[in-house]
């Protein structure tokens, strides 16, 4: 008689859903989601860099910051309604942020299902602090972004906030030590997140060639360092008195919100 061997089927971690039409079927797969994370990561990284560089106007003075803010609202010149281009950029940013978060969340769940932890201590060789804390630094950055918007865009947290006077608003916010500390901690988390993300995206997108592979880690280090130094300099400069409002009347550029759009 033939011997029957009980076939315990191999446990799976997901059930396959029916394929959606292209290109959504790509996003149904883990590698597709990782592509989405890498591409939105590039967009978000670009924003962080531009935002940091724009903020350097703080060192020039209130007038220059005001002009910079106005220039952003006037992007596109007379071809588009005022703040039109800015809103397109904002919506794009929100969409990228949402995609990045959704993909990260579902991939983490997938890994969580696939992983069983060891009882003994693990000894990691390659995984570093940055790569192992992506799922911590990510949520920290999300909370920070919400806090940052409430603080400086919507002015919910400060009585001395004036619409249309970013120089003053940055100053009053960062001159409070607890707030400055929040900014410092959050930006360290952001830089750590970028350090792993900026290397990881090359690998995910399959950008791999012995000719320039050596530069990928250097790029990640450079860009994370640049953002760290730039962004930490603002709270430190306010706390250290390098940025002040001695020659500036708070709210003097303030525009009423209707005109501001």
């Amino acid at each position: 008689m033939a011997q029957t061997i009980a076939d315990h089927s191999v446990p799976t971690v997901r059930k396959r859903a029916p394929q959606l039409p292209w290109p959504l079927n790509l996003y149904q797969t883990a590698i597709g989601k990782k592509y989405a994370m890498a591409l939105t990561g590039i967009g978000l990284l670009g924003f962080v860099v531009v935002h940091m560089i724009g903020n350097l106007h703080l060192y020039e003075g209130p007038t220059e910051v005001h002009e910079y803010a106005e220039a952003l609202r006037d992007l596109g010149g007379h071809l588009v309604p005022r703040t039109g281009v800015l809103w397109v950029l904002r919506l794009g940013l929100i969409a990228m942020f949402a995609t990045h978060i959704h993909a990260a969340y579902s991939l983490s769940r997938m890994s969580h299902k696939a992983d069983k932890s060891y009882v003994g201590k693990r000894d990691f060789v390659a995984a570093n602090f940055a790569s192992r804390t992506m799922r911590w630094t990510g949520p920290i950055v999300l909370l920070y972004v919400l806090f940052h918007l409430a603080d400086l865009t919507w002015g919910w947290l400060n009585d001395d906030w004036y619409a249309g006077d970013p120089y003053n608003n940055v100053y009053v916010s960062l001159s409070a030590l607890p707030i400055a500390i929040i900014y410092i901690v959050a930006n360290v988390a952001l830089a750590v997140h970028i350090f792993h993300g900026a290397w990881s995206m090359f690998q995910t997108l399959g950008i791999n060639n012995p000719k320039y592979n050596g530069m990928r880690k250097g790029f990640a280090r450079g860009i994370a360092g640049l953002i760290l130094i730039g962004n930490l300099s603002f709270p430190l400069a306010v706390q250290g008195g390098l940025i002040d409002i001695d020659n500036h009347t708070p709210g003097s550029y303030a525009i009423d919100t209707e005109e501001n759009g």
């Binding site: 971690v13 590698i31 991939l107 890994s111 069983k116 000894d123 992506m134 690998q203």
Partner: protein
């Protein structure tokens, strides 16, 4: 007689796939330095048998680092501390007298423990079944070197083909992702002319089967460090690229 070691072992014991496991603490005294890790376990097992205790089950076959059957977590590292070495090729001289050694089986949802240190790795078979083959007409064997292949391509294919399917990459991965194994199995066929006809279908099928069983890669790089064959992370990048190309362009219609 070579030098001997006295070791304190903490070994995972689990009577079956659904049983609760626990560490067994056992002293392994007078272990010759020249024994391999598996030979050390053999010695321990003989003593257990003499004491009427059931011996520890572990996977092994070739004992020369080529079959991929062995493999356990040793002190939190897959295949132990030695780089590019399988458990069977790891020698006890790499440990010090008096060391405590913690031994656990691979752990991942799709690598269920069968018994003690032995796990079920059929999830890997499913991935290979999905596309790890080429189609070749049978009949007279073709002449060697009939198809010209650049040396670099042949080398790259051979590097990938070195994967022995041991599962250390999954075991070492904090996400339990099988990217290194799958990418190696894809690459050794995908770069060769013989692998082209099925290339895009193969990539899609193997990647999607992998995703049924394993987690999502976050590019830690632990797999490469654990891999006894030092399979390169570059293959993962190739796999990612091929997968999206396969998905986007429907290239199976035009082969390359």
């Amino acid at each position: 007689m070579s030098k001997t070691l006295n070791l304190k072992l903490k070994i995972w014991r689990q009577s079956g796939p659904h049983a609760q496991g626990a560490f067994l603490e056992v002293d392994a005294n007078d272990i010759p330095e020249d024994a391999s890790f598996l030979e050390m376990l053999d010695i321990v097992n003989e003593r257990l048998i003499a004491d009427d205790v059931e011996p520890i089950t572990f996977g092994h076959d070739c004992r020369e680092g080529i079959c991929g059957t062995c493999g356990v977590m040793i002190n939190g590292q897959a295949h132990g501390p030695e780089k590019a070495t399988t458990t069977c090729q790891l020698h006890m001289r790499k440990f010090n007298d008096g060391d405590q050694i913690v031994v656990e089986p691979w752990k991942a949802t799709s690598f269920p423990v069968l018994k003690d240190l032995m796990v079920d790795r059929r999830a890997f078979d499913r991935i290979v079944e999905a596309g790890g083959y080429i189609s070749a007409p049978t009949g007279t064997a073709p002449d060697a070197n009939e198809i010209p292949i650049p040396k670099e391509v042949a080398d790259s294919s051979m590097d990938a083909a070195a994967c022995i399917g041991c599962g250390a990459c999954v075991a070492a991965c904090p996400n339990s992702a099988a990217q290194l194994f799958t990418s190696a199995k894809l690459h050794h066929l995908n770069v060769l002319p013989q692998g082209q006809p099925e290339r895009w279908r193969r990539t899609e099928a193997m990647v999607e089967t992998m995703e049924d069983f394993f987690g999502s890669c976050t590019n830690h790089g632990e797999c490469h460090e654990a891999c006894p064959k030092e399979i390169s992370l570059d293959f993962i990048a190739f796999m990612n690229r091929d997968y999206v190309r396969a998905k986007i362009t429907n290239r199976s219609l035009a082969s390359q």
